[in-house]
Amino acid sequence: MKNLLNVSLQTKIMGLIVSLVIGIIFVSLSFFTYYEINQSVENSTRIGLQTAKTVANMNSVEEALTMLNQNEELQHLAIRISSQVDANFIIIENRDGKILAHPIEDKINSYNKIHENFKAIVFGGYYSLVSEQNVGLSIVGKAPIFNDQKQVIGVVTVGYLKDEIITATINRVKDISIFVIFIILIGVISSILLARNIRKDTLDLEPREIATLYRDRNAILSSINEGIIAMDNSKRITLMNQAAQNILGLDSTYENKPIYDAIQTPKITEIIEKNQTHSSLEIDINGYVVILNIFPIMKEEQNVGTVLTFKDKTEMLKLMNTLSEVQTLSDDLRAQTHEFQNKLYVISGLLQLGHQEEALEMIQNESVIVQQNNNLIFEQIKDLKIQALLFGKIGKASEKKIDFHIEETSTLGVFPKHITTAQSTIIIGNLIDNAFEAVAQCVEKKVVFFAVDYGEEIVLEIVDSGMGISKEDIDLIFDQGYTTKSGSGRGFGLSNVIKVVKELNGSIEVNCEASGTTFTVFIPK
């Protein structure tokens, strides 16, 4: 059964229509044939009886019977009349069953059994019956021949062969069959046309292929993190995946509604109206910042729909930040090795010049600083990721000749689970980098990191000895894209920090003074 149904649409439709047509025709033909045969039998019965009556009432028949040796004439008469009424035979017998006229000459003068003539001979009855007595299975009408004294002197039998009735009917049905074949042909042709027409609508795909595509599409759409909204040429939403609903805070009821019900941002509706293609458009939809792509679907110069794909921007940011974080970490570590190399050159120089004392002193000094820092970090900062970050930043600072140190009173346990590595590195990394940049041009380059997690909050503080921030800039620094540096792809630092702090229900404070800037971040545990 499965294999049977696993055929092309055309075959399916053709099979269905043709079998339907054939079925209907077969049933109707059967009925027709059945009734036709019945009708023919009825007609033959009627005509046979009428003919028998007519023949029995003919004077010449009566005379021939009453006067003997007139059989010749009777025979002619019987044959003539039977051809006139299309009967297969007319038989005339006398009272005793002696055959006087019969289509088979040899039978004349032989005797028939009286049984079938009983009603006619004894009671003068007219009747029909199905008989096998004479030529073959036939429908016969019988009529008594009366003399002048109203006595029965013989019987006329008019017969129609049943086979011939059926054959005649079947021949009629055969004629109809030609017409039937024509109808079946029409059925076949129309089913082919129908199948073609359907295939045209379905881009030549079979229904099961379409079904597969549909299933796949649903699976794909729901597995994608990007929001996808498709609409038709009248800008009604035809499709909206789960991600789209999540990102825009919509529900599935928006399907089949105009896109303008779901997205009210004028800028987007304008673009959609103009059927323009746009990619990586950063835009605010319904209060959510997203990166948007718009593709109109064109078919033969006609717009048949539009697809919107968009990504939640914060998602994108996390990705970008993680990348940049890794990059800065590796940069910082490279700086550290570079720094050590320089120190090693100095030491080897001193040793070559024979200043062992100074070299020794330098090594000791250096190791103390490193030791101090290391101890501090290892003992008081328990979170491994933050440790790594801070080591990196120490390296970076010493390369940039920035005095970066960690407040000795800092204590930081392992971060609670709900704060991801990305989040913690975004906050600390960005703030430290910003501080480094702030002091880069100054004479005194000092940056202090302090962290404490007593009580309900984690408090992070970064103090720099930079120039501070001007009054007009203080409101801008939190905006995305604000930077004091030139170049593109920058300016996400602070705004990202703020976004992440918001996500963690924390707060951030900025304190500007002439001697520098202090950023304090409070994150509830």
């Binding site: 009708q39 009286i114 009603k119 009671f123 009855g125």
Partner: protein
Amino acid sequence: MKKLFTYLGLSAIFVLGACSSEGADAEPESFPNDNIELVAPATPGGGWDATARAIQKILDDEGIVEENINVVNKPGGSGEVGWQYTKEKDAHTVAIDSSLLITNNLLGQSELSYEDLTPLAILTTEWISIAVPNDSPFEDATELMEQLKKDPTSIKIALAPGLGNNDHLSFVQAAKEFGVDVTKLNILIYESGGDVVTALLGNHVDVATMSVSESKEQHLAKNFKIISVSSEERLEGLEEVQTWKEQGIDMVFPHWRGIVGPPDMTEEEIAYYDDAIAKMVETEAWKTLLKNNDWLPFYKNSAETSEFLKVQTENYDKLLTDSGLTD
């Protein structure tokens, strides 16, 4: 098939017609609401006509039916003309019938059968007699049958007015029961019962079959003798005549008369006639009528009549088709 469609078409027209003409009659008028027509399917003067006029008179005189009753003669085709006429009318028209209603159909002389009409009642019956001349060698029917069995052609049998009537059928049935080859019987057919009596009196025939009412007078006058009657019991006034049963032939053959109505009568209409006829057959006038005509009471109501006709038809059919001949 064709018939069926025509019928359906017609009934549809009737229904539509009824709808449009009657409109919204709250209550159909009770039956009867018009003159009653009583059809005698024969010319005035025969048994059917006499029966019809007697019924009309009694129903009227006794006040059983309030409406006018008119007798209509519709002769022809052994009753067929009258019955066809009745078939096309409504329940206000009823006709006298007899076993011819069945035999006409079985013998192919009529398309009509009792199923095309509504049997309402059977009223009377006559019995059929076999008579022989006074100097006949046959003392009783058995002797006659013995002779027929020996040589069926040797006896001239008289009857009127044609083959296939009850007089004929009862004789054939008796002969068949006895084992006579009935196909060889020598039957002479006369115009009327009177002619048969004349033939018998003139010794032109050896035996005649006719209703008791036709033969009784001559028998009592000792002009010829009745040797058998087709009744269950010996008849009043003919106590010396044996029934067929007594002579070893198990046969009772009534020549009954009754009343039929058109097809598709309602329960209510049938009940009306049942009621009227039941009242009628109880009256003194009816009993007197039977006596005067030598008819015997044979009353059956509509339900009994339907059943009786069914059985009669089966019997007749067997009689007419089964030759009883052994090969």
